[in-house]
Symmetry: C2
Subunit: 317 residues, 2 copies
C-alpha cells in the first residue's frame, strides 16, 4: 500500500497534544476526570502517542496541577506512548516518578521568545537540559526535544535556519532521537517547512523530525502537505484544534487532529485511527471546555456522508 500522492509516506504517526498544549491554554482548570475521559476516547479512536501533561509548577500553571494523576491513569497502557513537557529538574524528577515514556524538553530558536516563555536565556535552558539528561540516564525515560519558534518569532520576526540546525545538533548531542519543530505562533509556511526539513535531514540524519503546526494564518494543513512531500512521517496535532494562539485574540491555534487525519486518509496515508471516532472525541472536547472549537471536519463530517435532497438550500454553484 502506498500513498496517493508522490513523495508522501505510506503511513504517518500523530502525537496528540490536546491534553497538554490544548488544555494548558484554557483559562480555567479542566477537571482531571474530564482530561482522563478525553485521553481515553482518543485512545479508543486509535491514537497511541500523547503529550499528556506538563510537569510544571502548579502555581505558575494551575491547569496542569494534576499531571501525576493523569499519568497514573494511563501509565500501565503498554500500547500507549506518553510524554510530558518538563521545564526543569524538579519537573523531570516528577515526570520520571510518574512513569512517562519520554520527557519533552523545550527551548525557542529565538532568544527573546525563550526569555518571554521560560524567563531565561537559551544557554541557560540548555544548561538545564544537561542536568535533566543526567537525571534521565539509566531510568529508561527517553528525552525528546522541541524547538519553539522554529519558523519565526513573534518578537524578532525571521528565525535563521542556522539557529534551528544548531539547536537540533545540540539536542542530538544530548542523546535525543526525536525532535519537534514547533510553529509556535503560526509563522510556518510550506517553503520554510521544506527548507528546514531538508536541512535537518542533512544535519541530524539519525533523528526523527516531527512537525507541529498552528493554523493561525490558515496554512497549517498546507504546511503538513509540504512536510509530507518531504517524507516526514510524524506530526503533532490537537483534537478539535484545542489550544489557541496567545498572540492573536480571534486567531486559531493548533491544527485539529481530525482535520489532519482527514487529509492523511484522503491522501492514502494510513494513521491507524478512526476518523468518526476522532470526530466524536472532538465533540467531547467541545463539551468539556464549553465553547466551539475551530475543527472543520467535526462540523462538516467525512466527505462521503451524503445529504438528503430535501434538507438543503442551494446557491447556484
Amino acid at each position: 500500500m502506498t500513498s496517493k500522492i508522490p513523495g508522501f509516506p505510506a503511513r504517518a504517526v500523530i502525537t496528540e497534544v490536546g491534553p497538554r498544549d490544548g488544555l494548558q491554554s484554557e483559562p480555567v482548570f479542566v477537571a482531571t476526570d474530564d482530561k482522563i475521559a478525553l485521553v481515553q476516547s482518543l485512545l479508543d479512536a486509535g491514537l497511541r502517542r500523547f503529550e499528556v501533561t506538563s510537569f510544571v509548577s502548579p502555581r505558575a500553571v494551575p491547569q496542569m496541577q494534576d499531571a501525576a494523576q493523569v499519568m497514573a491513569a494511563f501509565r500501565d497502557r503498554r500500547d500507549a506512548h506518553l510524554t510530558a513537557l518538563v521545564p526543569n529538574a524538579r519537573g523531570a524528577a516528577a515526570a520520571i516518578e510518574a512513569g512517562v515514556d519520554a520527557m519533552v524538553l523545550f527551548a525557542s530558536a529565538s532568544e527573546s521568545h525563550n526569555q518571554k516563555n521560560v524567563n531565561r536565556a537559551r544557554a541557560a535552558s540548555f544548561q538545564g537540559f544537561g542536568e535533566i539528561a543526567q537525571m534521565a540516564d539509566g531510568t529508561g525515560v527517553a528525552l525528546q526535544g522541541a524547538i519553539a519558534t522554529a519558523f519565526g518569532c513573534p518578537f524578532e520576526g525571521p528565525v535563521a535556519l542556522q539557529a534551528v540546525v544548531d539547536q537540533a545538533r545540540a539536542y542530538a548531542d544530548l542523546g535525543m532521537r526525536h525532535i519537534t519543530l514547533g510553529d509556535t505562533t503560526g509563522m510556518a509556511t510550506p517553503a520554510l517547512v521544506i527548507e528546514r526539513v531538508q536541512a535537518l535531514a542533512a544535519a541530524v540524519p539519525d533523528v526523527e523530525i516531527a512537525l507541529h503546526f498552528h493554523n493561525t494564518r490558515g496554512v497549517g494543513l498546507a504546511c503538513a502537505y509540504a512536510g509530507l512531500s518531504q517524507g516526514v512521517r510524524h506530526y503533532e496535532a490537537s483534537i478539535g484544534g484545542l489550544g489557541g494562539c496567545p498572540f492573536v485574540p480571534r486567531a486559531t491555534g493548533n491544527v485539529p487532529t481530525e482535520d489532519l487525519v482527514y487529509l492523511l486518509h484522503e491522501s492514502g496515508v494510513e494513521t491507524g485511527t478512526d476518523l468518526d471516532a476522532l470526530i466524536a472525541s472532538a465533540a467531547q472536547a467541545e463539551r468539556i471546555i464549553g465553547r466551539e472549537l475551530p475543527g472543520q471536519v467535526m462540523k462538516a463530517g467525512p466527505r462521503l456522508k451524503t445529504a438528503s435532497m430535501d434538507s438543503v438550500r442551494t446557491a447556484n454553484g
Copy 2:
C-alpha cells in the same frame, strides 16, 4: 523569478468571487453601494478578475437584483476582467447588454445536484448553453464553464472522473477556453485535485483550468497546494471567505482570498496583489455583512508583523 516550491508556477491569477458567490449566499440584500465599494477596494488591492454578479431572476435571487448597476460601475475599467454567472438565455441577454467580459455557464457533474441547483437535468442545461453560445457569437463576450460538484456530490457521494472529463469536453466544444472545477460542498482532496487536473490537461489541453475550493473540511489550501504542484495557475477565492456552505450550518465555505494570497506569496508565487490591502478589504467585507468571516490572515496579520514582548502571555511552546 521562480517560485520557492518545485512545480509551482511563478505567477498565479486569482478570480475574486466574493461579490457574487459570497454575497449571493447572504440572507439579506447587500446595498449596491456597498457591493461597488467592496469591488473598488479589491481593485485597489490589485485584483483584476472578478465574478462580479449573477444575471438571475430577481425573484429567485433578490441578492443579485442589482446586477446591471454593479456591472455599470466597472464596465469601463479596461484593466478589469468582469464575469457574471448566467443561468439561462434571459440572463445572457442582460449580461451581454451590461457589458460583461465573459459569461459563466454552470452545470453540476452530478445529476441530482444539477436538479437541485437549477431544477433541470444536465442534458437540459447543456441544451440551454448551446442557445447562449449562439447569442454570444459575434458579441465579443466570451463563455466560461463551471463544473459544480467536480470533486464529489453531497447527494450522490463520489463523482466519476469521466463525468468531469466529459463535461469539460462538452464545454470545450462550445468554444470555451476557461473551465473552473468547483468544489461546491467542500469534498475536494489533494489526491482528487491531482487526478482531475492531470486528466483534464490530457483531455482538453487548450483549455485553461481554474480551481475553486471550499474550506468546509479544512483542506481548501492543501487542495490549492496540490493544484499548484501540478502547475495550475488560476484559482477562485472569496475575500474574507465570504459565502458559506449551504449544507452545513457551522461550516465555512469559500477559501479566503487573502489566505490564498498569503500562501502564494510565501511560496514565491506572484499575484500582483497587496496582502495588507486585501486584509483591509476583508475587514470591509466583515463590516458590510455585519458578522465575523472565517479568514485567518485577516485576524493574525502577515507573519512578520512582530508583537511587543509586553503585549502577550505565553503558554510554554
